[in-house]
């Protein structure tokens, strides 16, 4: 109980918990679940954007997109490392992903259907992710907080690139503008759902708040995102597909319509348009790559044995 009090006191004083520090088992488990979900999301998230690398319509955009997807993979690496500091192996976490026991962000279960999706994912999906993640830069667990600082910096860069891609397309041909609007229409509501269920229905929040893992509620973050995005949409010249969206001077916020939570839960529970494709692709990549990983391990073993033999 002493240890627990000290732990909570450190958090309340906005201090950081480090890997070697004592922590409650539930805190450790919650963090492992959250960090690994986040890592899986980065890795699975490579697929929807990876879908357009080979077809990017200019070499500059091809390079930007490839670099971005590579960054996402890099985020996956930092996050797996952060999770490993909590005493779980990357192999174990990946096994959980591939067998469907671990989740990843449901937003990646929607397809990318035209080139403008690349821009809209940068602008809206990364935008929503940043909104969610900025508070995590102050998360009580040190390695996670530090990973998030680096990730948020890169994500902001991606968001600006996505927005700039869309600006360029909106200044282009009629067909290009249609592509952007089509992409916005498909992604807008999915992005609002990224902040999770309404506070009234959210399960884990209270404990996470107390532990300094979560700092702002789903609904607050969602409102912040809407408020920040509407003016950007106006500058861009696209229509956000919500007839109820309008400024409420009393609240000092934008009002917006009702999210289709049933569709959201369907997708979370495996019935989105791409759940099976995303996971099956990861599983196949992992299986097809087994010989490479095993070959590298076998070689390292051989090399070690040779060195030992030489030293003996």
């Amino acid at each position: 109980a002493d240890k627990l009090d000290a732990f909570q006191a450190r958090i309340d004083a906005d201090g950081r918990i480090e890997p070697q520090d004592w922590m409650p088992e539930a805190y450790r488990k919650t963090l492992i679940r959250q960090i690994s979900q986040h890592a899986h999301s980065e890795v699975v998230g490579m697929l929807p954007e990876g879908n357009w690398i080979t077809r990017a319509p200019s070499l500059k955009r091809k390079a930007i997109l490839l670099a971005k997807v590579q960054d996402e993979g890099g985020h996956g690496l930092y996050l797996y490392s952060a999770a490993e500091t909590l005493g779980v192996s990357r192999a174990e976490l990946i096994e959980q992903l591939l067998t469907g026991r671990a989740k990843y962000s449901s937003i990646f279960n929607y397809p990318t259907l035209n080139w403008a999706d690349v821009g809209v994912i940068g602008w809206l999906v990364d935008g929503a992710a940043i909104m969610n993640q900025i508070p995590l830069c102050r998360c009580s667990y040190g390695p996670y907080a530090r990973a998030m600082i680096r990730i948020c910096k890169e994500e902001s860069f991606h968001q600006r690139q996505g927005y700039e891609l869309l600006l360029t397309m909106m200044r282009g041909t009629e067909a290009q503008r249609r592509m952007v609007q089509d992409a916005v229409d498909r992604w807008w509501w999915k992005c609002l759902a990224m902040f999770g269920p309404p506070d009234s229905a959210s399960v884990h929040s209270e404990q996470s708040m107390r532990w300094g893992i979560k700092r702002i509620s789903n609904d607050e973050l969602r409102q912040k995102f809407v408020d920040a995005t509407v003016p950007q949409a106006e500058v861009l010249g696209v229509t956000l597909p919500d007839p109820k969206l309008k400024w409420n001077p009393e609240r000092g916020h934008y009002d917006f319509g009702e999210i289709d939570w049933e569709e959201f839960w369907q997708t979370v529970n495996g019935h989105g348009p791409c759940n099976k494709e995303r996971l099956a692709t990861r599983v196949k990549a992992h299986e097809d790559g087994a010989w490479v990983r095993e070959g590298a391990l076998a070689h390292a073993r051989k090399r070690r044995q040779r060195e030992q033999a030489a030293a003996a």
């Binding site: 319509p57 590579q70 993979g73």
Partner: protein, 267 residues
């Protein structure tokens, strides 16, 4: 054709040859992004593809300047047909053991690694020599690309050794990959007309002079990898002259599809 026009043509072909090599290999390697065998290698390959796209852009920008008439790096990448591409056939093959153009199939990481090794083992000495190109912009591109090629070669060599001298399966797969690809490397050593002319004009490098060094690099790495150096006899591909395999037109159809659906658009 007068001498100036010819020299421009030679320079243009030479720049396109180098640029097409980089772009086509990048395009093949990009197909692995997100589906590689291990995350670190996924990122390493993406990184190399970024280097190659960067090289292609510099080479195409220079080619566009030489060509004039409104050409840009993107018109060169997106609005030429396969017969205008001057890359080695080696680089356009799918990342798989032999199959015909339209037969879909799983990709093979061993083929990707072996190809990256064979190609970068050529490009290190080639860029090295091109640092002395009489065409200054090309010499500058060579100096930048050399650093990248050295890293690509080191990375590929290490993996060839690791997997060649790994498990029985990884050994067999790497051997099969080299057996498949080696004959295509013959194209490196048979200079095309534009390469010969580029050497004469002091722009290009005599590739035949690089062959012995390349063979030594390949032999040393394959030996360390406990792999047999396969025969490279038989058909000599003609990609440099615009005669490709059945694979390039598929690769370009995909790569160019969005750009061609919106001719003249800015991205």
């Amino acid at each position: 054709m007068d001498a100036v026009a010819t020299e421009t043509g030679v320079l243009l072909d030479y720049l396109l040859h180098l640029g097409d090599n980089a772009l086509v290999l990048a395009q093949r390697n990009c197909q692995w992004c997100g589906v590689g065998p291990v995350l670190e290698e996924d990122l390493a390959l993406a990184n190399q593809s970024l280097d190659l796209i960067g090289q292609a852009r510099l080479l195409y920008q220079e080619a566009a300047r030489v060509q004039g008439g409104g050409a840009t790096e993107d018109t060169l990448a997106y609005f030429r047909d396969d017969t205008a591409f001057r890359n080695y056939v080696l680089l356009e093959l799918p990342a798989s053991l032999p199959r015909v153009g339209y037969a879909q199939g799983d990709m093979d990481w061993g083929v990707t690694l072996a190809r990256n090794f064979l190609y970068s083992a050529l490009m290190v000495p080639l860029w090295e020599a091109l640092q002395n190109s009489g065409h200054a912009p090309l010499a500058a591109i060579a100096a930048k690309s050399l650093k990248e090629a050295r890293y690509h070669l080191r990375h590929a060599s290490e993996w060839v050794v690791r997997l060649g001298d790994g498990t029985d399966e990884s050994h067999a797969r790497m051997q099969a990959a080299f057996d498949h690809l080696m004959p295509y490397t013959q194209e490196f050593w048979v200079p095309s007309d534009f390469e010969r002319a580029a050497v004469e004009a002091g722009i290009g490098v005599d590739v035949t002079a690089l062959q012995a060094g390349w063979r030594a690099t390949v032999a040393a790495t394959l030996q360390e990898a406990t792999l047999r150096v396969p025969s490279d006899q038989g058909y000599v591909p003609q990609g440099k002259n615009g005669v490709h395999s059945e694979h390039l037109s598929y690769l370009l159809a995909e790569m160019q599809s969005v750009a061609r659906a919106h001719p003249g658009a800015q991205w």
